[in-house]
């Protein structure tokens, strides 16, 4: 076998390979729109049907409106079973009201009123995901009404408030400026210490999960923790 193949063969081969290599990405990301010609162009009605996301600007909010009192009635029949009559949260379902002033305490309550930065998110989420057991079963008017009720329950809007595409984005939530939208990580800057990394005399166990009985069984069938075997 020859150890140095002829240049006359290699050069055109290389050119071919390089050509192929540059053509492939051009076929992918560098291509002009429609390069592959796959799929169809959705109609405006198709896009509108699925495009439900509502940003803080309120763009995309549907026509309609709902009042606090209408929302109060709906909440009692549709939402209170999980969230409690006053949004206090039944069992472990989310608490929706209260908690203002608690965020910097040892027992913070992160509710719509105390935590959520945008009222539009409230409309968006009720519209996209609630009620939990029957999502997308409310009309826009009903979603506006429940939005109005929850804002009122949290003392953010007056009793006469009517939620619509103009009023909801205009609401300033109490915790609007409570977020830092840039990750400061890395939070720590350790080195790869290999010896004398900590003082063995000061080593102390501060907590042991064996002392608290919160762990479901990890053998046998699923453990619902309702009838723990001794």
């Amino acid at each position: 076998m020859s150890s140095s193949p002829s240049r006359r063969i290699v050069a055109p081969l290389l050119a071919l390979l390089l050509g192929a290599a540059t053509a492939a990405p051009a076929g992918a990301q560098g291509a002009s729109p429609g390069h592959y010609g796959l799929g169809t162009t959705p109609t405006p009605a198709q896009i509108a049907g699925w495009s439900i996301a509502v940003p803080p600007s309120g763009a995309n909010l549907p026509p309609g409106h709902g009042s606090v009192s209408q929302g109060s009635e709906l909440f009692g029949t549709v939402c209170a079973v999980c969230h409690g009559a006053f949004g206090e949260g039944a069992a472990d379902y989310p608490k929706l009201a209260g908690g203002v002033g608690s965020l910097a305490t040892v027992a913070p309550a992160e509710t719509v009123g105390s935590y959520w930065p945008y009222a539009t998110t409230l409309f968006d989420f009720i519209n996209r995901a609630m009620p939990f057991y029957a999502p997308h079963s409310l009309t826009p008017d009903q979603v506006y009404a429940v939005t109005a009720f929850l804002l009122n329950l949290n003392g953010i809007v007056p009793d006469g408030f009517v939620a619509d595409a103009k009023t909801v984005p205009a609401v300033k939530m109490p915790n609007r400026d409570g977020f830092i939208w840039k990750d400061p990580r890395p939070l720590t800057h350790d080195t790869e210490c290999m010896t004398n990394c900590t003082d063995p005399a000061r080593l102390r166990i501060t907590s042991n999960a064996a002392d608290v009985h919160l762990t479901p069984r990890t053998t046998g069938p699923l453990d619902d923790m309702k009838s723990k075997s001794p």
């Binding site: 076929g27 959705p42 495009s51 910097a104 996209r128 840039k182 990394c197 919160l214 699923l222």
Partner: protein, 437 residues
């Protein structure tokens, strides 16, 4: 040969076919054969069940004919592995439809998580999506909005990549203190798989992204229409729209027929049952990036848009579920490490509560944003000790202790706990989840 066997045996009664509980195929077959008067006395079967023999005896499975290829058209683990399952913590949430189940890492031998054991996180239960009726809509700030069927999507140039997915809340219950005495429950909101699909960048090329495009909304077809805003740079960098997972279609639990994979970022942004991608100029501030998946700091401010799973590792042997059952002597310490920022560079293990560390062997392949296996030979002297592992990734970032993280995050956080895990080994060889000062 095969045909010889076939003709030598009587036909197996149809009642013996396709049974499932407790390795019944074999027993039914045995019964069938015994009933036909061909071979075994039933007493032999009972003896084998009661007393698994050591050499020189020959166990029952070496003296019998097993079920055939028609017995399990879709395979499943051995009957003896029936306890290796995803598990959940009933007190974490009120409803199993908005809940998480945990991968049994204590029983995962390598870097790939079995599809049936891959952790689940639902926001509105597991939808039963018909792939023939599923659509992916891409629209917004694009030259050419696009509606794709699964067949159309699968014609685009595709790639296969191995990546982990870790829930933002993995280790969350341990922020205030060591609470769950189990590897499965402290670290099991993670899985790693080979994903097959189309780079999001390819689809963005096809629709033509407008200049003012900065953010991307990804949304699921589940009842919650789970949605997140992602910066467009990440989407163009390494995000994938996938339909394949570990040699088969995605499981319904993992988004069948289509999901997003956002490598190295907290699991919930890898939206499952993906049906819509909207390109915009600003984030949407959805519920899952404001009310949830944000990190409350001790001063009452909160961090939002924190996505990266930073370097983390854990010893998967020993662990509370897998104690040092054999007494003092040789053991191989084994574990998994991963980083959302790239490859794992080192994993060091301490057998003295973090006073000294020893470098472990990384086992290839060491892939970017994938689980990486590490091992260290070890001889246990039978004394109580404290075991830890500490990962360093290719950026030089070193996995911190919980005390250090708490200096910044306090104890009220829920998310992104990537602290060093300490396992307490007792004199009996049992293992507990503990935290150190």
């Amino acid at each position: 040969m095969a045909s010889g066997i076939r003709t030598a045996l009587p036909p197996v009664p149809s009642s013996a076919r396709g049974k499932s509980a407790a390795e019944p195929g074999r027993r039914s077959l045995l019964r069938g054969l015994a009933a036909s008067g061909l071979v075994l006395a039933p007493t032999l079967v009972h003896a084998a069940d009661a007393d698994p023999p050591a050499p020189p005896a020959d166990p029952i499975w070496s003296r019998t004919l097993g079920p055939g290829v028609d017995d399990r058209p879709y395979g499943r683990p051995s009957h003896y592995e029936k306890g290796v399952i995803r598990r959940y913590v009933p007190w974490l949430t009120q409803s199993t439809q908005s809940d998480v189940s945990f991968t049994p890492l204590q029983d995962q031998p390598g870097i790939i998580t079995a599809n049936g054991l891959f952790y689940e996180r639902y926001h509105s239960g597991r939808p039963a999506v018909d792939p023939a009726r599923h659509r992916l809509l891409i629209h917004g700030l694009v030259e050419r909005p696009l509606l794709l069927t699964m067949d159309q999507l699968q014609r685009f140039p595709s790639v296969a990549r191995i990546h982990f997915l870790e829930c933002a809340a993995n280790g969350g219950p341990d922020w205030p203190a060591a609470q769950l005495n189990s590897l499965q429950f402290t670290h099991g909101m993670i899985g790693c798989a080979e994903w097959v699909g189309v780079p999001l960048a390819t689809l963005f090329g096809e629709v033509g992204i407008k200049k003012e495009a900065k953010w991307v909304l990804v949304e699921g077809a589940d009842g919650a229409h789970m949605d997140r805003s992602l910066p467009i740079e990440k989407c163009l960098d390494d995000c994938l729209v996938v339909w394949g997972q570990n040699g088969e279609a995605l499981r319904p639990e993992q988004g069948f027929p289509l999901r997003l994979i956002v490598p190295g970022w907290q699991g919930n942004v890898s939206v499952k049952w993906l049906r819509r991608i909207e390109i915009g100029a600003a984030p949407w501030y959805t519920r899952e990036e404001t009310g949830k998946y944000t990190e409350l700091l001790p001063d009452g401010k909160a961090l939002g848009f924190t996505w990266v799973n930073e370097a983390k590792s854990v010893l998967t042997f020993p662990c509370p579920e897998k104690p040092l059952a054999g007494g003092p002597g040789f053991y191989e310490l084994r574990g998994l490490a991963w980083s959302g920022r790239g490859r794992i560079r080192h994993v060091d293990v301490s057998c003295d509560g973090g006073v000294t560390y020893a470098r472990t062997n990384l086992q290839g392949p060491v892939l970017s944003k994938a689980l990486t296996r590490f091992t260290l030979p070890w001889r246990w002297d039978g004394k109580p000790t404290l075991l830890q592992s500490r990962a360093t990734d290719e950026t030089g970032y070193v996995q911190p202790g919980i005390a250090e993280l708490r200096k910044v995050m306090g104890t009220g956080s829920v998310y992104l706990n990537n602290s060093i895990q300490t396992w307490q080994v007792t004199a009996s060889g049992s293992v507990n989840n503990v935290q150190l000062s």
